[in-house]
């Protein structure tokens, strides 16, 4: 397992990308989503006026139940709504001050936002080596790609051991590492992770968590979508809670961890003692909705 204290060469970053510290956050957030409305199939409302900001250097968590709109928000940011018959009907998305609303996915990746999709979605028939290479096609520089790939092998040594394997034969945890490595190949300034802990054993979740911290320490800003709220809140600076397509709650992660509603809804902690079903809690705390 990779601990936070391990000494390891810094993963190289593009020199063209300016180093922006967390103090630059207030001036120009790396990602700014304003009043975003998304509709699926011209009828079903996916998001209703969502606003969210991610400052450069932050880890921001996005929590919510199934169907709350977490994945929809990520799809809207990365331009993948078109694959799901969805469309942005209102609001704006800016990345580093640049309007990327409705931009094509390759434009958005080039602008610096890379997504690790839910379910990992590695190219199962291709080797680990080729999977990583696909993440850098957008940069169009094969020599830089090879160098970047070596950095990924340093970050994820298990991928180096399995570089000639077909990705479909990797374990779930290894596939998740590959999916993260593939997204990092484009040297993004913002990494969007959709449920990286889904379906993984607790020990592997720990490992993935450490990798996220490491990637962040190397200078990548992270927007983390998770149902595993305990994990997400333990490593994030701030968090948003999505409910029925709108932001129900937001604040520093430390504060949300202590919030009774969050504890009951997403952390499975009942402050009044005894266990209650999700449904009980939800109906009992409907006031937190939009």
């Amino acid at each position: 397992m990779v601990g936070r204290e391990t000494t390891r060469p810094m993963v190289g970053r593009e020199t063209t990308r300016p180093m922006v510290g967390p103090d630059a956050t207030a001036a120009d957030p790396l990602l700014a989503v304003a009043d975003l409305e998304v509709v699926y199939g011209r009828q079903i409302r996916g998001l209703r006026g969502v606003s969210l900001e991610v400052g450069s250097g932050e880890i921001v968590a996005l929590l919510g139940a199934n169907g709350a709109g977490k994945t929809t928000l990520l799809r809207a940011i990365t331009g993948l709504l078109r694959f799901h018959d969805g469309a942005i009907t209102g609001g704006r998305i800016r990345l580093s001050g640049r309007d990327i609303t409705d931009a094509a996915p390759n434009v958005i990746v080039r602008a610096g936002a890379a997504q690790v999709m839910e379910g990992r979605r590695v190219f199962g028939e291709m080797t680990v080596e080729d999977n990583l290479a696909t993440g850098a096609i957008v940069r169009g520089d094969r020599r830089a790609m090879a160098a970047r790939r070596e950095e990924m092998y340093e970050l994820f040594p298990v991928l180096a051991e399995r570089r000639a394997w077909q990705a479909g034969y990797l374990s779930g945890g290894e596939q998740q590492m590959l999916a993260i490595g593939r997204a990092l190949m484009s040297s993004p300034s913002l990494l969007l992770l959709d449920e990286p802990s889904l379906g993984l054993a607790p020990l592997i979740v720990e490992q993935i968590r450490d990798f996220i911290i490491e990637v962040h320490d190397d200078g990548t800003t992270v927007l983390l979508v998770e149902q595993n709220a305990a994990m997400a809140l333990s490593i994030s600076d701030r968090a948003y809670v999505l409910q029925n397509g709108s932001i129900a709650m937001t604040g520093p992660s430390a504060r949300l961890r202590d919030d009774p509603t969050v504890q009951a809804l997403y952390l499975g902690i009942d402050t009044e003692g005894g266990r209650r079903s999700y449904r009980d809690v939800r109906s009992g705390t409907s006031g937190t909705g939009s």
Binding site: T78, L80, P105, N106, A114, R121, E125, M126, D130, T134
Partner: protein, 296 residues
């Protein structure tokens, strides 16, 4: 024994042509998930366009061939952009019928542009033959085998070593995940059709040359003989296209050489389909195809 070797060489050459046609089918199938019947139309048009450039317009043969390759790649890309891409996400059956429509349109177009009967596509090798130890080998067959080898080698290098090839493979496996990596998915569609158009020219010229160099508007349907080759190899396997092509080519030529004189029916025509059925009963996804339920 001489007869056997002679038929074997001819069979491998014909198989190589089928392999190229099957390759065109496979490339489009992998990316679009559709079976492209218009591939036969591209083969037909490719042969006639090469004739137009080299015959009436007087270009040297290889210049005409190269130019025809570029032309057909363009035609295929336009066809994809105009009639195929709007159908993405619609039922595969609709797309299938559109490609049949394309085949019919191209065939009628060729018949109405080149109305003069008895057109001949002149090739540098013509109908020359070698005679080696009693085995007659046609120059056309040697050219075919050489071209097929080079084409497939180029094809594999393209898919394993270039960004464009990598992007197409990723797109073929998972369109959305490919888009999420910043791979331009629509370009993968265009390039796969361009490849189908380009290889169709080579197949069209080789088929015509093998058949005595007379241009035939029936070439589109003849190309569909590559279908058993594609199915035997596996719908989505370029390597399978070679194996399937050679199996079908050799079967057809051997049947022609040994059986057709003794039977009233045309055994050569049905033999590939018989082999196809036997292979499919044994391996439903073909020899090298992905084992999954295939849409068609």
């Amino acid at each position: 024994m001489e007869k056997f070797f002679q038929l074997l060489v001819a069979g491998i050459a014909v198989g190589g042509i089928y392999a190229i046609i099957a390759l065109g089918f496979v490339v489009v199938y992998k990316v679009s998930g559709t079976f492209n019947f218009s591939q036969g139309g591209l083969v037909l048009l490719g042969a006639f366009v090469t004739y137009q450039y080299s015959g009436p317009w007087g270009m040297p043969f290889f210049v005409a061939l190269a130019l025809a390759v570029v032309t057909l790649a363009g035609v295929a890309m336009v066809a994809e952009r105009v009639v195929i891409r709007p159908m993405i996400g619609k039922p595969p059956f609709a797309m299938l019928l559109i490609t049949i429509g394309l085949l019919v349109i191209i065939e009628q177009l060729v018949r109405s542009i080149w109305t003069e009967p008895g057109l001949v596509l002149k090739t540098p090798w013509g109908n020359d033959r070698y005679d080696i130890a009693g085995v007659t080998i046609r120059h056309a067959d040697l050219w075919t085998m050489g071209t097929v080898t080079v084409l497939f080698a180029a094809f594999f290098v393209f898919f394993s070593r270039t960004d464009a090839g990598l992007g197409i493979r990723a797109t073929a496996f998972d369109q959305e995940a490919a888009a999420a990596q910043g791979i331009p998915v629509s370009r993968a569609f265009s390039v796969s059709w361009a490849i189908a158009g380009a290889v169709a020219v080579v197949a069209g010229v080789m088929l015509t040359s093998r058949g005595g160099s007379a241009l035939s508007p029936g070439l589109g349907l003849i190309s569909l003989r590559a279908l058993p080759a594609m199915i035997i190899g596996g719908l989505d396997s370029p390597g399978g296209a070679i194996a399937g092509g050679v199996i079908v080519g050799v079967t057809e030529i051997m049947a022609q050489g040994y059986l057709d004189n003794d039977t009233t029916g045309n055994v050569a025509t049905i033999a590939p389909y018989v082999v196809m059925i036997i292979v499919l009963l044994w391996r439903p996804s073909g020899l090298f195809g992905t084992r999954a339920v295939e849409r068609v």
